[in-house]
């Protein structure tokens, strides 16, 4: 099939970008979206042009590296998948596909479709960990009884791959779903309760410092999250934050 592409091209972080049109022929429905971009880049390289830079790594929906706004939606028109899991069968012959980087002040564009998501790393560094005694008498985590329901909720929160689709989808560029997932995965477990108050305060403070917007509960993040992270996590983080604030 023949497709028309409108792709954001930006030389570097300081340059002004623009949308550039490309036409690709011979695209098959079984190709992945990123394979389609590989083909485009092969054509561009063979013509002596600069290839389109885009992030990718595992190409199986695990790493969260691919961060593309496709036709106005993070990771494209399908739900519960990342851009690398999107296939060209989701499009029709003659379609025009718009591809942009995820947009947020806290996710500056590095080049073309590549963005800097180190803001997420700094939020995690602010409290997304537990302290474990390593003096030789460490208790095996499996020896600590945990309710099945809480273990499941914690695991579900931990499936967040930090791709940034929640920020990209939110009209406010808010990182509440990501941060709340990282807060929840520890807050639900006994190992995480020890530092729970400091964790939520520090991670929320860092989130605000990074320049993300505020949550207005539109629910767009939950809809677009490839891992189905629930809004319940945001409510849980708000409870944790309120509780930590009251206790000082």
């Amino acid at each position: 099939m023949k497709i028309y592409l409108k792709i954001w091209r930006q030389k570097d972080a300081t340059s002004k970008g623009k949308m550039v049109d490309y036409t690709l022929d011979g695209i098959e429905g079984d190709m992945s979206f990123l394979e389609m971009l590989d083909i485009l880049n092969e054509e561009l390289i063979s013509k002596g042009e600069e290839p389109v830079e885009f992030d990718h790594d595992c190409r199986e929906g695990i790493c969260g590296t691919c961060s593309l706004q496709i036709n106005g939606r993070p990771h494209g028109p399908d739900t519960r998948i990342t851009a690398c899991q999107l296939h060209m069968r989701s499009f029709k012959d003659g379609d025009t596909i718009t591809i942009e980087p995820f947009r947020a002040k806290a996710f500056p564009v590095v080049k073309d479709l590549i963005i800097d998501r180190s803001a997420f790393d700094r939020i995690q560094q602010a409290g997304g960990y537990i302290s474990v005694n390593t003096s030789g008498n460490t208790v095996d985590a499996n020896a600590i009884p945990i309710e099945k329901e809480k273990a499941d909720l914690s695991f579900n929160a931990a499936t967040c791959i930090g791709c940034g689709a929640c920020v990209a989808a939110c009209k406010n560029a808010s990182a509440m779903l990501f941060t709340s997932a990282k807060v929840s995965q520890f807050a639900l477990l006994p190992q995480g309760r020890v530092e729970a108050a400091d964790r939520v305060m520090n991670m929320v403070r860092q989130m605000d410092l990074e320049g993300f917007g505020n949550c207005t509960n539109t629910g767009a993040c939950e809809v677009e999250c490839p891992k189905g992270i629930s809004l319940e996590n945001i409510a849980r983080m708000n409870r944790e934050y309120l509780s930590a604030s009251v206790r000082g």
Binding site: K6, W8, M19, Q69, N71, G72, R73, T98, E100, R103, A104, K105, A106, V109, A169, K171, N172, A173, S174, G211, F212, G213, N214, C215, T216, N217, T218, G219, A220, V223, E224, L231, E232, I234, A235, R236, N238, R239, L242
Partner: protein
């Protein structure tokens, strides 16, 4: 934002209850209005709290909107917000701004008039005047139309805002579906009731 919103939702229910008596019993409406207008606790404690609630709510709303706009410096060329979130939740600033403009008219119509009557003109107490004043206010078609349109926007604002307040306060549990359903009923019933009262009094001279 959430706390001031819940407070204003509760106030709306009280306001509606009193207003609705104007449809079923002019005498009761006059009695309640006179009580609200001259009771010391209502006038000098509850009224300032209410005004503070309104001011806090809309100032925070505008501050959040400015912060949120700054959080995405470069806008998308293509952004399908409607694919993942309803219009009402994405445009609370629009419905809120219309309600704020309406409140300006509403305060001018009733609150400023009341302040002038009591404290500027220093008129004597008249517990029987409220019903007639209300009917007179809704005589012009333009005023009734503005009120009805504003109640429509109020409905949209409540549709998202009420249940959203609970989420912000950390309430997301087995009761959430009930809160969402109650929100929908409240968001339709209360503004519809207010609109009915305005339209009723617009046609009041014809009805009676």
């Amino acid at each position: 934002m959430a706390l001031s919103g819940i407070f204003l939702v509760l106030f709306l229910a009280l306001h509606f209850t009193i207003n609705f008596t104007s449809v079923i019993s002019p005498e009761t409406f006059n009695e309640l209005s006179h009580f609200m207008g001259y009771n010391v606790i209502v006038q000098f404690i509850m009224q300032p709290i209410l005004i503070a609630g309104v001011v806090i709510h809309f100032v925070m709303g505008f501050v959040l909107e400015i912060q949120n706009n700054r959080a995405r410096g470069v806008k998308y060329v293509q952004y399908k917000g409607g694919a993942n979130a309803p219009w009402v939740s994405r445009n609370m600033i629009i419905s809120g701004a219309v309600i704020l403009a309406f409140l300006g008219l509403h305060f001018y119509d009733f609150w400023v008039h009341e302040m002038a009557y009591k404290y500027v003109e220093a008129n004597p107490e008249d517990p029987t005047r409220y019903y007639a004043e209300t009917v007179e206010k809704f005589a012009p078609f333009w005023r009734t139309a503005i009120y009805v349109v504003s109640f429509g926007l109020l409905s949209l604002h409540l549709w998202h805002g009420f249940a959203s307040s609970f989420q912000t306060m950390g309430v997301n549990n087995k009761y959430t579906p009930s809160i969402v359903n109650f929100t929908k009923i409240y968001a339709v019933a209360i503004p519809l009731g207010f609109a009915f009262i305005a339209i009723y009094h617009h046609f009041n001279p014809i009805i009676h």
